[in-house]
Amino acid sequence: MQSRPRRHGMRATLLVLPAIIPVAIVVIGGIGTTVVQSLGLMPLVGAPALSTDAFGSADDLLGSALLSLGIAVVSTAIAAVVGFFTAVLIISGNWGGRIVGALSAAAVTVPHLVGAASVGLLLSDSGVLARILGIPPESWPALVAGPTWFAVIAEYAWKESAFVALIIVGTLATRITSYDETAAVLGAHRGARLRFVVLPLAAPSLLVASAIAFAYTLGSYEVAWLLGKTYPEPLSVMALRLFNSASLTARPEAAAVAVITLLLTAAIVGVAMLGLRRMRAWQ
């Protein structure tokens, strides 16, 4: 009785090992190295000594953390809403939906760095849009590097909404038709079908996709660095600036900022995963 499940478990473990080992080395190794560096155990010069100094030395950490969270929450929320309705449009299967589907698939392949450069060219003071509309730089609103972080949020929202849409389409495509038709036959009108059929079915993948988008937005630096304001800076930009700083003590500080970013992300993704377990459609 006992040996069968054990052998089963062993076999399953062996089968997934080739996938797990490289991931573990990269993820756990990377995180481990960062934690070790943040605690002063991996200095560039001098002897390693355990200390938490690095966590306290970066100034305006709280402001940066709040800014990072703000950007990530707003852009993820926009991406979730836009992504959901885009997915519904794609699933509807008409011509418009197909075009939107193709555009979304294309948007996902654009690297964020290229996206940021394009958004910058489009929205900056003397950018393409300002020139097309014939508005002089002085009268153009400060969308890029402005106080609202408009360009940064717009870039993330645009790119991540395409990602969210494709994930939802992937899960809905196989099962939506029968449920939707049944509901329609039973007399549910459009609004009710959207609310009681499509949304519950899409919710788990919407949540997962949003969590991934959120984690990405919180951790990536290039968009905020290119399109953001000089001060305050998001955590990721701060970590990069410190890591590239010419002083040798800045590396542990950069690692500490990265660890804080990681904890924030883990906490919020953890909450999302708890929410996922409560969802009916997931079980």
Partner: protein
């Protein structure tokens, strides 16, 4: 059989704690394994060659990867089309690795040294100077005492302070000079008919013309040089700022700098609510006509930018009475390079009269030579004299009049941090 137990536990439905434990153990083991191979073993490598012939033999057939900032098309073209063929004649293949920031190369070297990759690093040669050089020197990341072996070092003055010290850090044969640069202010003649003639005058001009001036945010190289220019100006000249950093000097001198910049901020582009992040963004603002006065530490690029229409034809370099900062660029060889001899051959070739003349031509790159014109033969000096003048950039002797020495590298992060917390955060 024991050894399989953790895996079985992980696979079977069990409490969360039991699932977490093996993961934590794996994490700890991986982290330990990684930190074990990262024990700092950065013992500096000393000279390995007796004479130049030795170096040439060792260099034969080596491929040298030169990591340099890739944002300057003329510089890239010079290395690819002029320097690389000359190195090939010496039996060395030169490959240019474009990077966004010199610190990327330094970080790569540091990471390799931390990981114990001590003899076959990815970086063989770096275009470097200033605080990057100092940081690398502190971490023993440079191969040192090699420049005396270069035959072409005899063409370089050994008493030129720009070449014996790099932002106050003694060069000590850890880097070979490449060219000189002069910080320059640039204005549009069409919109600034009567340009100011001093640093203070520039700041006053900015206040009289709100929104038409700004500077890159530190720690951008150019932005942080501008901080030093203003520091000299508000301190009454560079003579009054001790080049060696001390907390006392910083506490005494920096308040006047930040006060002046704070006062200036409302008159800047976008009322100083934000700053261009890089000198390229600053140049773009100037090119788009959003500002009328800008600055650069690489005036060499201006000629081509005006020629290809990026900058207006009325672009002019402003020579200020107080003088501006000057520095020299160098080639450094990381201590973990596997092609040290090849890198030395490239650095030597880059110092030849032929290469320095070619590079100084504004049509090629327009970079100012590091050679001592007084020790050159009459024929060689004639080559430099015959160089065409740029219509935009004055010659080096005009540009470097009253040149100010750079502060020691410790000043740079201190001034940058202070700027970020007082001016950027205002």
């Amino acid at each position: 059989m024991q050894i399989w137990l953790p895996f079985r536990r992980a696979a079977s439905p069990t409490t969360a704690r039991r699932r977490v434990l093996p993961a934590l153990a794996t994490a700890a083991v991986t982290a330990l394994a990684l930190s074990a191979c990262s024990a700092p073993t950065t013992t500096p490598r000393g000279p390995e060659f007796f004479d130049w012939a030795d170096v040439q033999i060792a260099a034969e057939g080596q491929t040298v990867k030169l990591w340099m900032w890739g944002g300057d098309d003329q510089g890239n073209a010079y290395v690819d089309d002029v320097l690389a063929p000359a190195a090939a004649v010496q039996g060395v293949t030169l490959e240019r690795v474009p990077i966004a920031d010199t610190k990327d190369a330094l970080n790569r070297v540091f990471t390799e040294l931390q990981a114990g990759r001590n003899t076959d690093g990815a970086v063989d040669l770096v275009w470097i100077n200033g605080d990057n050089f100092r940081t690398g020197k502190q971490a023993d990341a440079w191969f040192c005492e090699w420049t005396d072996l270069l035959p072409n070092m005899t063409l370089v003055s050994d008493s030129d302070p720009l070449l014996t010290e790099d932002f106050g850090t003694p060069v000590d044969g850890c880097e070979a000079p490449w060219h000189k640069a002069q910080f320059s202010f640039v204005y549009n003649e069409a919109t600034v008919p009567n340009p100011p003639t001093t640093i203070e005058g520039i700041l006053d001009w900015a206040e009289d013309n709100p929104g038409r001036f700004t500077y890159p945010a530190a720690p951008d190289f150019t932005g942080s040089a501008f901080l030093r220019e203003v520091l000299y100006s508000v301190s009454g000249g560079y003579e009054n700022v001790p080049s060696v950093y001390s907390d006392d000097a910083f506490a005494e001198l920096s308040p006047a700098l930040y006060e002046r910049l704070d006062q200036l901020a409302p008159s800047l582009w976008r009322e100083g609510s934000t700053y261009p992040a890089t000198s390229e963004q600053l140049t773009k603002l100037f090119a788009d006509g959003e500002i009328d006065l800008m600055m650069t530490y690489g005036p060499a690029t201006l000629t081509a930018l005006v020629e290809n229409g990026t900058l207006p034809e009325t672009t002019r370099v402003l020579t200020v009475e107080d003088g501006t900062l000057g520095n020299a660029s160098f080639f450094g060889i990381p201590s973990n390079s596997g092609n040290i001899a090849g890198a030395m051959v490239v650095a030597n070739e880059a110092l030849s009269v032929e290469q320095q003349v070619a590079k100084a031509d504004p049509a090629v790159w327009g970079q100012f030579t590091v050679l001592d014109l007084d020790v050159l033969s009459a024929d060689d000096r004639a080559l430099f004299d015959a160089l065409p003048q740029s219509p935009v950039v004055p010659s080096f002797d005009i540009l470097s009049q009253n040149a100010n020495p750079e502060l020691s590298a410790e000043w740079v992060p201190a001034l940058d941090d202070g700027w970020r917390t007082t001016i950027a955060a205002r």
